[in-house]
Symmetry: D2
Subunit: 375 residues, 4 copies
């Protein structure tokens, strides 16, 4: 559905949120469950070993599994069947023991998210570094500040870049916090962990440990704040990249000419054009990310112990929010990398409204931004 997605989303991120990545994560979750249960004495060690081995075998038929998932409305049910088919009859029933589909899909969603957030963070760090470089290099380069697109009073380009830096840093910091707290999901059919008996809480703990995810106080199958907050934080991060994009595209206007992307998009018909493609793509990606986040914002309101649709709408929306936030980060990184800054033009534009060049505390605020963000 994401038409021309490779224009927008870097390949590693496309892979990280692909069906194959989700299925791989679900397989990892089943294996972790088996190990946690065997460590807690709920299932035999031999079963856990066999399940882990079956999970590690060759990969599954991803398109086949998802097609089959249409019947039950979840990809977990066919996966469990496929996994059981790999095991001897006396061990097969230990697969997925005590779990429900949502446990597997939600925990897998957290693994996918962790992986994708890592990729996104990599690009956001690079963006911060580029902003910091511009802030430092142009700490005292005068340019016009513009409010409501009218020249206001002088500022510096370094200060503009410093504010980009601070905004991206804050948006990234939020994602880092959320990434650290990604919770495992295990509750069983009703969230009561009923089939696990006295070992329930121990399995709950070990399961999270096996996955390297946080152990929540309670199963969160009915509490989708985690998902909603991820959506909002991703959209905010994408938008902070898009904000830079708007500024770059405005500064790159033919009549302004203060910056130009190092690798602008050309036009066969119009050789003079230097399209700020990175800036443009960042803007497009942020719009898409906000669209996905709007779906995730509704997730919190669901019926009883599993919602009639809100949950199912999360999977693709979460993948989409991750992918396009990463797309926004990569695009603005491209935009800023090697950005050509025309200091003379900045000065000339500033002279349009005359007046002396007083940029106030801009320089000190740049220093503060660099210090606060550890740059």
């Amino acid at each position: 559905m994401t038409t021309f997605e490779s224009i927008f989303v870097p390949a590693p991120l496309r892979d990280a949120v692909s069906d194959a990545a989700w299925i791989d994560a679900m397989v990892d979750v089943e294996a972790a469950l088996a190990r946690a249960e065997s460590r807690a004495g709920v299932i035999p060690v031999a079963a856990a070993e066999a399940i882990t081995a079956a999970c590690a075998e060759s990969s599954f038929d991803v398109p086949g599994l998802t097609e089959q998932g249409r019947a039950s409305g979840t990809p977990a049910e066919p996966l469990v069947r496929a996994l059981r088919a790999r095991l001897a009859d006396d061990l097969a029933h230990y697969v997925h023991f005590g779990a429900t589909s949502q446990d597997i899909v939600d925990s897998a969603a957290m693994l996918v998210t962790r992986q994708a957030l890592g990729l996104i963070d990599h690009d956001l760090v690079a963006v911060e570094s580029l902003c910091a470089g511009l802030a430092r290099a142009h700490r005292d380069t005068p340019m016009a500040a513009r409010t409501l697109l009218q020249q206001a009073v002088p500022t510096t380009f370094g200060y503009k870049a410093a504010r980009w830096l601070v905004a991206v840093h804050a948006a990234r910091a939020r994602l880092v916090v959320l990434r650290t707290a990604l919770p495992a999901q295990l509750g069983g059919a009703a969230g009561t962990l009923a089939p696990l008996g006295d070992a329930a809480l121990e399995v709950h703990h070990l399961f999270a440990q096996e996955l390297g995810l946080a152990e929540p106080a309670l199963p969160w199958h009915t509490d989708r704040l985690v998902i909603t907050e991820l959506g909002a934080a991703l959209a905010a991060a994408a938008s902070s990249a898009a904000k830079i994009g708007v500024d770059v595209a405005l500064l790159a206007q033919t009549e302004v000419g203060e910056v130009a992307e190092a690798e602008p998009g050309g036009s066969t018909a119009m050789p003079h054009k230097r399209n700020p493609v990175g800036a443009v793509l960042a803007g497009a990606c942020a719009r898409r990310a906000r669209g996905y986040a709007s779906v995730l914002a509704e997730s919190v309101v669901g019926e009883h112990e599993r919602a009639i649709g809100a949950w199912h709408a999360e999977w693709g929306a979460l993948s989409g929010a991750l992918a396009f936030t990463g797309g926004a980060a990569a695009a603005i990184r491209r935009s800023l990398d090697g950005l050509q800054v025309d200091v003379a033009r900045m000065r000339a534009n500033l002279d349009l409204i005359g007046g002396s060049i007083v940029s106030g505390a801009a320089g000190v605020l740049v220093d503060r931004a660099l210090e606060q963000t550890g740059r």
Copy 2:
């Protein structure tokens, strides 16, 4: 990005909005442009024939083209290059003559939309038929009306189905209107059709004719109402399917038990469960469709003659809105097809609050609904 999309979207619709379908449509647009231009005497007949032949050759390297599209932020630029490479040097420059990337992508979007709307319509018609069948069969089957989820006064199940019918019919009618009016896009670099000289308006006319699309009064590269209205109408249609889904899921509750889907989703752990999967998937699809529509709602506000991001965000959002609206239609069709109606249970539930069974004008209103929708 649409994780597990085959759970939600029927295969023909997935194909209809795929990258390959978009590229095919773009190729058709280039061929139509060449033919229109040769008919108007702007380019040689031989050029148009050669271009048409080149377009009809084997298919293009879709992943390669989209990857290359990252540089210029549009898939049209690499496609034009690939197409020109298939032609002799003296004819190559007639490819894409007088057009801009947006002409190709927008016109292709309309072709993709036309095809996808056809598929969606097929399922919506089937849904209407199923609703009409239920309305007719249960014209006088008493059941409780429920407001704020409290039993109110009696109604009939036929009347409930008749209102589903009327709603889906209205939503479908809007899509039919929009489908008929899908406009071709041809304006050239600035919308002025400048390179086409005196033949500009004739080419504009013939181009639309070649594509079987409507000819707009003006190029609409800066007027995205068409896109926004498509998004809104698709989301409304998906939501009208989801409304049926909510009612079905509520009626299928264990404690209500008035309907059951013919092919409910089972549960290995809980054999008694009869999950209304069609209803659930319709709800999920509508949420996703609304998310895409929210992106398209912003399209109208763009900068000058081509927006910095709003346009690029349309492609995948339009595909997504089409796909998930079709998914909603297919899912609710599945839900209603063979729906088991427990007339006795309807009556028993109605007796919970006592009182006589008076369903007012319900029967006559059913007749009216059937008549109005031509059923």
Copy 3:
């Protein structure tokens, strides 16, 4: 909740969607219902006359009624009580006969919408007229077309204005269609018109007639497409105004200087600033209108015969969408009224990239736009 609403929304429109206007409309609906019922012989003529008189008396205690509405979650219940209290005991029970709260509120919503759409249309017509004036006056005024904010090839300012015209005209046309079809709502507690007996359909017909609203085939209490479509069409109209605003603000940039609003916002600190306040407010209003429309987009999906919240969320969101669409129209009218166009600057900017001035079919397309929109 609409902080500083008088900055954004013209006073007549604020009045038109105020609580008082809604209560007035609800009173009109109750009176129309009584008259329709007496014409159909369902209630005595004397009752209808008394009710009409009671409705026409002095106005109701609006804040009191809405405060009381908190208990039942609807303003209709306290209004019916207040109205009955104005009547003799033997006539009081004829008030609201056979109706339910939703009948009154929904029908009133249509009356409020009709009134507000009239005000909005007035401003949109003025905007069209201003666009047409600019299109005609500057039919052949060369200026740069800009794609991705880079100068592309020449166009004319008249053609730009013509496209504004066509877009606003199309958005307005959609609102006109919807306004003509605003449906009365009458269904009684379950939509079956049960208490009205054999006269049900006659009352249904006369009621719509009394209100001057369209008679729908069926009560639409469960089919909220009307509401959703209004939201989408309003947001699209507001956005078409905001699109003009973006272009104006970009053209008004200090470095571009091609247009200036006649009454720009000043700044005590910066006397040189000429803030394009109309353009800015149009943009703000469109954002708000889209926010309200997103609420209305969810209305279609509701539970059974009255939704648990989706319906209640409509009232303020509909008022808001109307108000801010009107705000956007008024703001862009202000922006365009007396717009100062610097033809020399347009030409000078165009010279930045050199080349000859060829604006293709721009002039003819302007003529076509004027003709198509009847200007």
Copy 4:
């Protein structure tokens, strides 16, 4: 614009986000600015004292100021004029010294937010307390868990309430964090604090101190993450209340009958109805809050040093998000306060699908929830 707002929003919260409250806050900001500047030696002590006195005088003409704000697109400009008019000529120019409109409005927005969040928190704490009470009282009350609205396996009502508690607690905790960090805004026309000279950073510090707001590293006029995050967190909190509402309304269904609100909404026509009005209003409020949050989600992407519309759209959207989140909290508090729980009915419904009552670790998880939330 918020039709019938008193049905949805408690009076204190309506007051807290009213125009009058915003103007009061703006006045407080101007006074704080003057005091900070006099403490830093930028303006005379006498000026600060006179300004503080003028601010403390009688209140301002709120409707007049906002009407006048239409000209400049901001309420700050007329307020500054009105304030200056209260001062002697030689002191008037010290009002608003070095500040820009956005400094005043943004800082006031933070004061309004702080006040409103306090009111919201009060209701959310009460909701937590009610949830905790239900969790404790019904720790071991068996009931059916329901997934996809089908009975799954047994759980306990206490565990359901415990998950409500945990969700509301988490949503509230996020708001508490954001409230603590609400930043003062002071940057001057371009964010450089230019007119304040060497005292710039000292004034920046003292200004935040005077207002009791956090001092940000940099002015945040171009970095709207604060606003976007507030919107998202408010919508999430409102939605966590709405989630409880959905569950309550479903449990209160005539056919389920497991709970009833203590003060249900009645119906004159249908005395048997017990409408779960609190639950319904919570759902409506959350929809509205999400609509406002969607506006605020776009705030991050703005043009240069002040956006052409995104900023202006924040004011009412922020007020709305605050008001309706408070409305959701108050409504669900009403819903849960005195909630009637029918333990026998819960048991009877559970018997519908037979089987033994095993609620697994539900009890221990309740204990954990109570402990984690400090209840």
